[in-house]
Symmetry: C2
Subunit: 483 residues, 2 copies
């Protein structure tokens, strides 16, 4: 009980926050008379009631100093339970979304993946569309909070590299951590507001600006149309989106430093510069294939190349065109780009730039060691020493990712999905990107036609990837539960 009571308390608080957010589409539904406001209110009520019960149960057994084991349970249980409450409005909705589809859509929303099972988005009521975008926005907030305060503390996937005085959960530094998290929420909200204004200024209507701003800054990818971002025939809107997708994939501590210390260190950050370099190279490589499409002009070709590669690498998942028509080279680039991810400490998923850069550091070290076997090398990244412990943790992340990808692909193939669909479907779920490749789940496709079981496997994969594998896998081992 002592082990799980903090998670009950946290879960209770989170469910009540979810209930509060559910009031927003409820209000919109009431104002626009969509007839769905009672669904949202009922969902809010259920979430709130359950939340209060859990919080009271947890509060009676509350602990002060959190152990890492408790932190694993808090994090995983929140990500496993909240989606079921977030899915309620879809499930209650009279248009008949199955429980499987409702949960898939909610998990995809909260993990900011953006893979959708909704067909005919253009005709869906605004409250349903707004709830999808809100799921992204809520999820994104949870992800940054986790990346700043939880992952470095648990040293998941080499995140110890980003441990600061604030990622400590002892009584002493708790106020500082809370202050940091509060600043993070304010920054996140301001960034979303800025994105919304920019979209609106460059021609989006208010409803689209609100929805797309939330889906952009959270690197989520839900849109209000089946044609995704292709519904906006404006080159400047595409570039607004590119800028804010990149900002959403930027380490949030850099913004916080800017807000708190007026210190512009973003351009000195190795990870951020690395991500920009990767994006620039890939966009240039893709411009020629994009230009090969009939009727395409150079400005639009470059815009499409940049927009879609930024969308995939930042793991947003908007599509401004069906880039799988650009030929085999473009398809191969998008396949590998699915794994990259943006920066750690952002809403972005994937392997993340710092891990890619650490890989190159290790390769460089191995090459030097091959030539000079007795050389003593100091492993550095962004001014910090990279210990063997961090390398082992990074390697654990990559191996768990490879094994998860293998098992998920095998499971999906067992359900009759071909190699490209099962492999890229697994990859896009685990990396929280959105679109896969192939006829069904490609950027012009939809996850609706997949078998029920495949949707559950993919939902699980999205959470697994979002929690960077170890956080959830550790709970499956007997060692974890042993005293």
């Amino acid at each position: 009980m002592k082990l799980i009571s903090p998670s009950l308390l946290v879960l209770g608080v989170v469910l009540n926050m979810l209930a509060a957010f559910l009031l927003i589409p409820a209000a919109l539904g009431y104002l626009q008379a969509t007839g769905n406001h009672s669904d949202f209110l009922l969902s809010a009520g259920l979430a709130s009631f359950t939340g209060v019960v859990l919080a009271i149960t947890g509060f009676r057994h509350r602990a002060t100093n959190l152990q890492s084991r408790q932190m694993f349970i808090i994090t995983t249980s929140a990500w496993l339970v909240v989606p079921f409450f977030g899915a309620l409005p879809f499930w209650f909705w009279e248009q008949g979304v199955s429980l499987t589809d409702a949960v898939f859509e909610t998990v995809s929303g909260l993990t900011t993946t953006g893979a959708t099972i909704f067909v005919g988005l253009d005709n869906k009521p605004p409250d349903i569309l707004l709830w999808r975008s809100l799921l992204h926005w809520i999820g994104g907030m949870g992800i940054i909070g986790m990346a700043i305060a939880v992952m470095p503390f648990l040293n998941v996937g080499g995140m110890k590299l980003f441990r600061t005085e604030s990622s400590d959960w002892s009584d002493k530094s708790l106020p500082r951590t809370q202050q940091l998290l509060m600043l993070m929420v304010v920054t996140y909200a301001l960034l979303t507001l800025a994105c919304m204004l920019a979209y609106w200024l460059f021609g989006m209507d208010v409803f689209n600006a609100v929805n797309h701003a939330m889906a952009t800054v959270s690197t989520g990818g839900y849109s209000t149309s089946d044609s995704s971002f292709a519904q906006f025939d404006s080159i400047s809107l595409h570039w607004v989106s590119i800028v804010f997708m990149v900002l959403g994939a930027t380490p949030f501590v850099l913004f916080i430093k800017l807000v708190r210390h007026k210190q512009v260190s973003i351009f000195r950050d190795a990870q951020w510069r690395g991500m920009l370099a990767i994006l620039a190279v890939l966009a240039l490589l893709l411009t020629l294939p994009a230009l090969s499409m009939p009727g395409e002009t150079l400005p639009w070709a470059f815009t499409h190349a940049m927009f879609n590669i930024v969308s995939v690498v930042t793991t947003t998942g908007f599509a401004s065109t069906d880039y799988t028509l650009w030929g085999d080279f473009a398809i191969a680039i998008f396949f590998f780009a699915t794994f990259l991810g943006g920066c750690s400490g952002s809403t972005s998923g994937g392997i993340k730039t710092f891990r890619v850069q650490l890989c190159f550091t290790i390769i460089r070290e191995q090459i030097i060691k091959a030539v000079h076997p007795n050389a003593i090398l100091k492993r550095q990244y962004n001014g910090s020493t990279v210990s063997d412990e961090i390398v082992a943790s990074l390697v654990g992340f990559l191996f768990l990712m490879a094994i998860s990808l293998t098992i998920m692909t095998l499971l999906l193939s067992l359900m009759g999905l071909d190699l490209v669909t099962s492999l890229t479907g697994s990859a896009t779920a685990l990396m929280n990107v959105g679109p896969g490749l192939g006829a069904v789940i490609g950027p012009a496709g939809n996850f609706q036609p997949l078998p029920e079981a495949a949707k559950w496997v993919l939902s699980m994969g999205m959470i697994l990837g979002r929690l960077e594998f170890l956080t959830i896998i550790v709970l499956l081992t007997p060692a974890f539960w042993r005293r």
Copy 2:
């Protein structure tokens, strides 16, 4: 000059060995009047002449204690130069094999990959077929020699784990290394002879027994028919092949211990047992899909499942049926199996079992560390301590592999090959397996239709994978050549 002279000497010796081997198909061609014996004799003459010139040049500047830098040059230059001389008989041959195809076939032979560009093998003259098998056999010998004596010394891909008193190139222990290598050659020859006899006893004619024995023990995969091993309609021949493919993928030091010390330690070897466990699980998973084929009986289904998965995992590349017809699950299994590989210190390619096992060791360690952050763990493998240095080297191997796979796939896709062909083509080349997936290069297909440039990229990939990436990549860095 001091840096490259030892490689000239070694290259000279190797080319003269190649010339000696070329006399075998020359003799066969003369006896059977195929009209090709002069091509083989001319090739032998050219190889021998070049070899003598190189050896003399190298001998004048010979060094005694070899440095690791010299070892890198010796190994890489041998693998880059010898294929061109091995390719001569194919190129000289009146039936008109292009230089590209001749080199591809030779590289595929020497690296024991077994991907072929020859169509209509059943009607090819015996001397040409025999030369293909001999390329496998010569290559296999070189690979084991390299794995026993060179890789552990250079600590390529964590091979330091297998460093023994014999993998040392100082003057003192040179005689012991030479003795070990001699024993290795004898063991290799005996194993091939045993395989040959077994094939013959179970019904193969002498010519097929000789060819397939060389292609089996070297885990190569060239056959004498377009239908590969499916030409033999005998369940016992399939099992003979399974046994000898597994033995070919077994660490050779285990055989040598058996020969020298009469010590049967093979069943205590963690890597060997790991490989057998992987093979058993995958064969069982594949039996049901194999049984789904029309007219298939359980014994044959199990045999086909076992034969083809052993063939792919040991990186032999024989096919006894088109397993891509077994459905999506089977295809996904064969896709991932392409990467596995047999044991280190054998003729097998791929990631290799010990690296897969080390990955699980690290994952296990990470899980324990997550629960007990202050736990002190001793990393063990097969009775040896796995240092952080070995982990870094293993990680370097896997990253270089991933990057090579990415770059090769992008290059192939640029030539208009689709994702499945370019991805599995790169994988099968880098892992030295043989068949890929998809309509063109699948187990029922052939590498002949690929563009010229793709064949060069794949040839380079086969050598890159065979040299475990680092050995060749290190030569491309300025740091290597700097004094």
